[in-house]
Structure formats: structure tokens, C-alpha cells
């Protein structure tokens, strides 16, 4: 009985078990034996409906195409984890591409026929006549007598705040025409800005900066901001930035009320300030013609640039290129476009008429880039708009004009594009005028970021979320992508003061060092894998370090196609014979060759197009591509 039970499947002593296992292994490897295939289980119900149904593409189990194999990592747990994340990333990228197809790419434009017709000849009256009633209503003239006006839009482009030099301040929803508040402050007003949304405005008055709420009630007097000329609000950091006659740059956190930083620029009164929306760096234009970039974390500017001879009147950063281009205008009647990645000389510069007249009086050239990269330059009595690719191409002189509009009321004191619409609002001595600039605004807004049609509850919710997601001012840097990137490797001293070599005990070394010492550090990159595979696996230590250099210096050897004595007729006969045989492998090969030919044809086409001068035509993907599987 005991023997019988023990025979059932009791655990065996170790040595016997091991032998048995080995025996089975041997059997598995026996030649000629194949693994038994699992019989495919047919589900009758599934089979009955599968004939007439199709899984929707979103539910089809989808493997992303490009996933790094990570085969060089020995640790199974780590490898599978990395592969999983890589797969997820690749899948997300593919889905992103898929979602791109659904974008409407809606955009305003002026199309001209022939070379003789110019877009800049099109007047506002013509534009108004040719568009619908609702759009035509956006072309407006406001006659106001509060002095020369400064304006500011909210981030969603729905609300407008205006401030006249003589103290007339108003905020309103410009699309419906509802007035939120109107104030007669009876003192000089120099600048105005919205805070997080339309519910608060900050006004730079004669002496201090004041904050008013939507109904025009004074909420705060920021008495530390004295004689401020320009205001900016950094929406993601909740910072109100001001600079004024004394040349102090001040950052105030509007969510806590604390002054974060106060920098003395030592460059006198400042009349030009702008923020870069993409990295929250403040650009200041000074009286001596320099432009300085400022962050609240550095007392000295990370970049100082001598841009103009004489005071700078206006600055603007291009939002469409992620803050890559900067346009400056000075009292010397020049407009310059700078590439922020390379400060050695401007990309393009030109002279404007009537821009001079003393920057300190608030009369000078005004600049603004639109969301889509159109540059508006207001000087003298006209506003000129330039279109993107030519603005920052390295040519001399003025770029071709896209649109212009004369205004009889000098001086022009502010230029603002309205986000998500094709409207440009100009502030001048006799009020405001908004003109229509087709193609200026971004067509697709993201309702998670800025929604022109935001309801009241959504605004409240976004305010709370904005506060929760408030970025700390310490994180403002020139490169906003440094967050989440790898820290630079720490340099460890190898010699002490006496010149003696420092050897830390193995146990005290950091983990990577320890792995390096024991030869287990895996520092191969994913990209190197292929090279190593070509070079042969058995390299170690020093050789492994040299191998990439060798491979890069030596050109890959060309493999010659050598035909060995086969007659042409014989070859033809053989190929004919082969053509008649149809089996899955030949079909597959033929398809592959077809695909290769297709890609080659496309490449040739692209190369030809490039040679012709224009950019290679990119076939626009259609939204229907999502269903092609």
C-alpha cells in the first residue's frame, strides 16, 4: 500500500528527481522529434459570428512595429520591464500619429492667382466683403478717448483688457460684446495684463501695480512694484512679472502673494518686456540697446545681447517655433529677427519707416508674432504683417509683405494677435482697431489648455487644476526639457590633495562603479547592438571601446554581384520556368520586391521635387487611413 501511494506522485528525493529531469531533457532533444502541436480549439459560437463580423480596429490586438529588443540586458526581470515600457511608448506614438489624422488643420488664408497679384494689395474692406457676416463682425473700430491704448487678450482669446494712457481701463468679452468692468482711474496707466483668466487683471498705474477683479473692484495694491512700465504674467508658474522706470525686475507669486525674486538690472528704465511661453524666460529690452534674458533663479542674465543702437522699443518671441525666434525693434528704425539657438548676428534685419521718435515716450515700433508665426510690425502709421518661412530665412532686407493696413491715428502703441482667431488688435491714440489677418490663428484649440467656449464650471475647475499643477519658479530654465532627463554623471576625485590615488573600498563605491569593477556593468546603447553583432561578439574591455571607432572610420565593404558563367538563354529559360511555379514563398518574394520598387519610386519622386526647389511633396494622410488594415 505504502509503495503504491508513493508511486502516485510523491516528491522524490533530490538525486533521483534530478536524474529523471535530465532524462526527460535528453528525450526532448532527440533528433527528428518535433514538439507536438496543440490542437486548435474551435469555439463554435465565435466561429458562427466571425464570418460576418469584424473586430473594430481599436480592439485588434496591435503590436507596435519598432520596439528595441533589449537583448543585451541579461536580467530577465529588467529586460521584460524595459520591453514593456518601450512597447507602450511605441504604441502611444503610433496612436498619436493616428490621432493626428483626425485634426481638421483648419486655417485661414489668402490665395492669389498669378504672380502679379499680391496678398498685401488686399485691403481690409475686401476681406470683410469676401467673408461671412460673423467673421466680418470681427473687424472693428473702437473710438475711445483715454489716450493711447495697451491691450491684452486672455489665453483663450475670448476676453480683452484695454488700458488707456489717461486712466481708462476696461475688460470685456469681445466676441459677445459683454462688458465686465470699466474704470476711470484718473491717473496714468502704463500696462495691463490678465492673471490666470478673465477674473483678475493687473494694471500698472502711475505709482504702483493694482489688481482688480472681473467687476472692477480693487483687490490688491502691490506697493513693492513701483513705477512699472511693463507687466507679464507667467500662467503656469502663477508669477506676475514687472519691470519699470527704476529697472527692477520683480516676480510675485499671485497664488501666495510672495515676492519670489527682485533683480536690479542696472540698465535703467525698461520699456520692453516679453515672456517666452515655452520656457517662461523673460526677455527685457533696455535703453542701451541690449536684450537680456531673465529667470528668477539667476541674478545675472544667462544671455545678454547687443541688439540695437539706441533703446529697444519692442520684443516678441515666436510661439509657433517653440520660442526659437526673437524679433526686436529699436529706436534706430530697425527690426531684427534672432535665432535663439545661435546669437551670433541676427537672421534677418530691415528698416521700417516712422518707427523712431523716442522709445521713452511710448512711440516706436511695436512687434508681435501670432500663434502661427505671422509677424506684425506696427510703425509710423501702418501695420505690416509678414508670413513665416521668409521671416527667418537668411536674406537681406525686408521679407515679402503679407498684409498691410494703414491707420491714421498715430502713435500705434500696442499690437496683439487674438489667440485662436485671425484677429489683430491695434491700440492707438484714438482707441482700438481690430483687423482681420487670415492665417494668424491656430485652428484647433485644446480644451484642456485654453478653450474659447469655456463654461463657468470649466473655468473654475481649470483654475483649481492650474493651482495644483503650479510649477515651482526654481524650474524656470532656458531648456524646459531638462526636467525628467538624466542627471550629468558625477565626477569623482581620483587623486587627493597629496596626489595620492584615492581608492575607495569596493563596498563604498556606487553601484555602477561596483558593477564596472566586477565587469558586469552594461553600458551598451540600444543603437550599438547592431554594430557589435557585425563585429563579432567576443570582444571585451579595451577592444570593445575601440571597435565603434574602427567601424566608423572604415567604409563598409561593397559586395560585388558576381555572375558565374551562366548563359543568357539558359538564365531566361530558368526564370521562365520559375515564373510558372506559384507557391507561397515566391508570392511573398514578389510582393516584397514590389514594395521595394514602390519605395524607390517614391524616393526618386521626392528627390526630383527637392531638386526642382520646392519642398518634397508629402502625401497628406487621409482620415480614412485609420480603417486601412
Amino acid at each position: 500500500m505504502d509503495a503504491l501511494i508513493s508511486k502516485a506522485d510523491a516528491i522524490k528525493p533530490l538525486d533521483k528527481k534530478a536524474k529523471r529531469a535530465r532524462f526527460f531533457k535528453g528525450q526532448d532533444r532527440a533528433p527528428g522529434e518535433h514538439k507536438k502541436k496543440e490542437p486548435v480549439v474551435e469555439d463554435a459560437t465565435a466561429a458562427s459570428i466571425s464570418r460576418s463580423t469584424r473586430l473594430p480596429p481599436s480592439l485588434v490586438p496591435h503590436e507596435p512595429s519598432k520596439v528595441p529588443s533589449n537583448s543585451h540586458i541579461k536580467d530577465v526581470k529588467l529586460r521584460s520591464q524595459l520591453t514593456r515600457t518601450a512597447k507602450h511608448t511605441a504604441l502611444t506614438k503610433e496612436l498619436l500619429k493616428d490621432a493626428e489624422l483626425l485634426r481638421s488643420e483648419e486655417r485661414g488664408r489668402i490665395e492669389v492667382e498669378g504672380q502679379m497679384e499680391k496678398t498685401w494689395r488686399v485691403t481690409q474692406d475686401e476681406i470683410v466683403k469676401s467673408v461671412g457676416v460673423e467673421v466680418a463682425a470681427q473687424r472693428k473700430e473702437w473710438k475711445l478717448d483715454g489716450g493711447s491704448y495697451r491691450t491684452r487678450y486672455t489665453r483663450n482669446g475670448r476676453h480683452l483688457a484695454i488700458a488707456g494712457k489717461k486712466g481708462h481701463v476696461a475688460t470685456f468679452d469681445w466676441q459677445t460684446g459683454t462688458l465686465h468692468s470699466e474704470l476711470q482711474l484718473q491717473e496714468t496707466v502704463r500696462d495691463i495684463t490678465f492673471l490666470q483668466d478673465q477674473s483678475f487683471i493687473a494694471v500698472a498705474q502711475k505709482q504702483y501695480v493694482y489688481i482688480y477683479d472681473q467687476s472692477g473692484v480693487e483687490i490688491h495694491r502691490l506697493s513693492s512694484h513701483v513705477e512699472v512700465n511693463r507687466l507679464e504674467f507667467l500662467p503656469w508658474h502663477w508669477l506676475l512679472v514687472s519691470v519699470g522706470n527704476a529697472g527692477y525686475l520683480k516676480y510675485t507669486d499671485t497664488s501666495t502673494g510672495q515676492t519670489i525674486n527682485e533683480t536690479r538690472t542696472k540698465l535703467g528704465a525698461c520699456n520692453a518686456m516679453v515672456q517666452n511661453m515655452h520656457n517662461a524666460v523673460i526677455y527685457l529690452g533696455h535703453q542701451n540697446g541690449t536684450v537680456t534674458l531673465r529667470t528668477p533663479n539667476l541674478s545675472t542674465p544667462p544671455v545678454t545681447l547687443l541688439a540695437h543702437l539706441g533703446p529697444i522699443t519692442s520684443l516678441s518671441v515666436d510661439p509657433s517655433s517653440g520660442g526659437r525666434y526673437l524679433a526686436t525693434a529699436g529706436v534706430d528704425n530697425r527690426v531684427k529677427v534672432w535665432d535663439c539657438r545661435n546669437w551670433k548676428g541676427c537672421v534677418r534685419e530691415w528698416t521700417v519707416r516712422g518707427g523712431g521718435g523716442g522709445g521713452s515716450k511710448g512711440i516706436g515700433t511695436e512687434l508681435e508674432w501670432s500663434q502661427k508665426g505671422l509677424l506684425a510690425v506696427a510703425s509710423g502709421g501702418t501695420v505690416n504683417v509678414y508670413a513665416p518661412p521668409t521671416i527667418h530665412s537668411a536674406h537681406k532686407g525686408m521679407p515679402p509683405l503679407y498684409l498691410n493696413h494703414p491707420i491714421p491715428h498715430r502713435p500705434l502703441t500696442s499690437v496683439r494677435f487674438c489667440p485662436f482667431t485671425d484677429v489683430l488688435t491695434l491700440g492707438h491714440a484714438a482707441g482700438l482697431s481690430s483687423i482681420i489677418v487670415p492665417g494668424a490663428g491656430e485652428g484647433d484649440f485644446d480644451s484642456a489648455e485654453a478653450d474659447p467656449f469655456e463654461a463657468r464650471t470649466a473655468r473654475r475647475e481649470r483654475e483649481v487644476r492650474g493651482l495644483l499643477d503650479k510649477i515651482q519658479p526654481e524650474l524656470i530654465t532656458l531648456d524646459p526639457e531638462f526636467i525628467g532627463s538624466l542627471a550629468p554623471q558625477e565626477e569623482r576625485p581620483t587623486y587627493d590633495q597629496l596626489g595620492k590615488k584615492v581608492v575607495a573600498p569596493y563596498a563604498r563605491l556606487p553601484r555602477l562603479e561596483r558593477l564596472r569593477v566586477s565587469g558586469k556593468a552594461d553600458e551598451t546603447e540600444v543603437g550599438e547592438e547592431k554594430e557589435q553583432a557585425d563585429g563579432g561578439g567576443e570582444e571585451d574591455g579595451m577592444q570593445a571601446d575601440e571597435s565603434p571607432k574602427q567601424t566608423s572610420s572604415e567604409k563598409p565593404e561593397k559586395v560585388k554581384m558576381k555572375m558565374k558563367g551562366k548563359g543568357k538563354s539558359m538564365k531566361r529559360w530558368l526564370s521562365k520556368k520559375r515564373k510558372n511555379v506559384i507557391d507561397p514563398s515566391t508570392v511573398a518574394i514578389r510582393q516584397k520586391i514590389e514594395a521595394q520598387k514602390e519605395t524607390r519610386r517614391r524616393e526618386l519622386k521626392a528627390a526630383k521635387a527637392a531638386a526642382r526647389g520646392g519642398e518634397a511633396e508629402v502625401e497628406k494622410p487621409s482620415a480614412l487611413d485609420r480603417f486601412r488594415k
Partner: protein, 456 residues
Amino acid sequence: KISVLHHAPSAHIPARSGDPNPVSRNLDPLMHPFARARERTRALNAAKIERMFAKPFIGSLEGHIDGVYTMARKRDELGTIASGSGDGEIIVHDISNRKHKVRFPSAHKQTVSGLAFSENDRLLSCGVDKTVKLWDTRTTSDGNGDLEDMDARTERTPLSVYAGKMAFNSIDRHRTDPLFATASNIVHIWDETKSTPISNLTFPTSNETITCVRFNLSESSILASAGTDRTLTLYDIRTGKAERRVVLQMRANHLSWCPTLPTSILLASEDHNLYTFDIRSFSIPTQIYKDHVAAVMSCDWSPTGTEFVSGGWDRTVRIWKEGVGRGPAVYHAKRMQRVFSTMYTGDAAFILSGSDDGNVRIWKARASEKLGVVDGREKASKQYRDKLRERWKFDPEVGKVERHRHLPKAVHKAAELKRTMLDARQVKEDRRRKHTRAGESKPKAERKKAVIVEQT
């Protein structure tokens, strides 16, 4: 010829009042400035929120006068557990109402050393008074009656008493058959209907006291025991023999079989560590779990098999993830003493710990989990926060919040001291190695140090 951008309000404003606002998306990265920085802020907030809501203590089950040294859960009932204390008292608790179901005030003359539920609401208990007793835990009116009254009326007597020759240290019941195993100087297998053991299991050369014995949960005729000779022994009751044993560096105080992975076994060791072994290869533990700063007295797998709990001499309860050897969740309470028994409840949502201060404490298994009904949006946002924490855990600030655990001062100091000592030991070994002939002494992997010898 001229077209101007125009958003039709009808497309962006809800058609009827009460409808949600239509959402439009633009995934262009230029439209989302500071996406990374904002996500990091969100991750930091998520980590902080997680720590803020980490309030794991739910309540304690009082009633014992002496320390609680053993606990058992009933397999088919979520709310019922039994606990035995040092003065020989056994209490069957109803944890959902935090009431006593049944009390056996002097079940044993000395410490109750082991408890196991049997079939039909019966409870097996063993004590160091050399007896095993079988109790009926049924209440008069199916748990609704007044128990205090009934206790006052009658002192319950055991259904049967099994006498042994040595003090019993542990007991476990077979999963299906009416068999149970006890641990004294050897392992006895008993039939519930017979008063003497039906078989004695022992490793041929062993001469030790067995501290813990447990049946495998799926291969139910296999059982494992831990003994004072620093051994872990496997037995099969079908062959009636000890099959294999392994001698470790330090003795194991407690062991537990994984409920989902039948080959995996967990040891709570005297050397402050826990070990999981695959019983197919005893030569090397699959993972060492290091964080306790004193001997680990008890351990128990979660019914899901992905986590386990341990309680130790350092007055803490720690919750580990299977395969992650560091950084467990640490639970401690101001008045909690040495933890001698820990246990998951059957739904893996709660943890029970019995300590020297005579309380059985109820903890949440996931410290910051919200109890009760969680609606869909809340669940989704929790999942998003968890993902963010996972993704940003390498950020120094997020990681700091994630890793930081407040510990009692004594535990913190002990951990510091332990770290210093271990570091010093390692450095010393390094130096020694440096000054011996090259290759003479090689560093040994930590996992390979655990096992001294494997015997069959």
C-alpha cells in the same frame, strides 16, 4: 479666395443644457508648453497625497490579558479569526463587528502555541502544556445570540483532547482530510478521530525542536517545518518520510506556503531577513527580503500570492511585494509591542497583527486605500496618480516623498546602527581580500550565503 478662421459656436457649445461641453484636442506639443514640468508637479502631488492618506490602522480587537502569540483564520468565512494568548486563552473574533464570538478563557494551562480551524466550525489548538484540543466554536443562535450570557452560563469544554509527550509549538490542519500535523521534537500526524498520532515524521539524523509546521496549500500532502537546528524540512505524508532538508545560517521562526505558487515557500528568519525558496531548488533562495531590524517572528502570504506580511521583534509589521527585497510598507503603533503573529484576511484587504501587548490590531493592507464604495472617476484618477508615481519615481523629490517612512526612533536608530555595522563588515572583508593572494577568496553572492547545506 480669402478664408478666415471661424469656430462655429454650435460645434463647441453643448446642444442642450446639462450636456457636457464638447471636448476638442490638439496634440501638437507646442500647444502644451511645460508638459513635463506640469506632469512632474502632478506626480509630486500624487506622491504627497498618497502619503497623506496613508492611515492604515483601523482598530484593535481587545480581550487578551497576555500577549497574542498565534492566530488562525477560517477558510470559508471572511469575518472570523481565532487568537491565542500567553495565558492559555483563546478568543474567536468577529472582525467585521469587532466583537468576541466565543471565548475559551483557560483553554490551555500555559501559552497557546498554535491554532488551526477544522471543518464544521471546529478549532484545533495546541499548547506548551503538551495537549492538543478540539473546540466547537459554534454559537447558539448562529452568531446573533448574546454571547456574553452564554459564556457566563457555561464554561465550554473541548470536544476532544489529544495528549502528547512534549510541548507542542505549532499546529496545522490538512486542507481536505481530517488530519492535522503538530510540531514538537518531531512532527506528528494525527487523525481527528484518533487519540494517538497516526504517524511520526522526522528527518533521520535530526535532533531538534520543531518550531513551525505548515501543509502545502495545493499539494496538500506535503508539509514543511522549521526547526531550531536552523533547518527547513520537507515531508510527504504519503511516503511518511522527511524528503529533504536544508540547513540555513540562522533558524527560521515561522514559515508560510504561497497560496498561488505551490512551489514557493516563505521563511521568517532570526537573522532579520525573510527568504523565499523554490522547493525544487533549495540551494539558493529566490529572494532575500531585508528591512527588519530585529528577528522576524511571523509571516503570512496574502491570498493573492503577490504580497506577504511579516511581523518582528522590532515592533513593526511590514508588507512586502513578492520579488521586491527592499522598501516594504512599515506599520507601527505607539503601544504595539513585539509582533508575534501576523495574518492577512481572506479577502487580502486587511492585515491582522497580534503582539505582546495583548491586542490584535486590524490594518489596511494598502495603507492609503479608501475603504467603501469608490466611484469610477475616483478610481480612474487614482490609477492615473499611481501611474504618475510609478513613472516619476526616479525624480529625486518624488522619490524622496515615496521612499520616506516615519519610523519610531528606536527602530530608526537600530536601522542606522545595523547599516553601519554591515558596511563596516563589508569593507573589512574587502580589505582582507585585497591583502590576500589574488583569487584566493572570492566574494560570495548574498543569496548564496544563506544556505549552508542541503540534505536528502
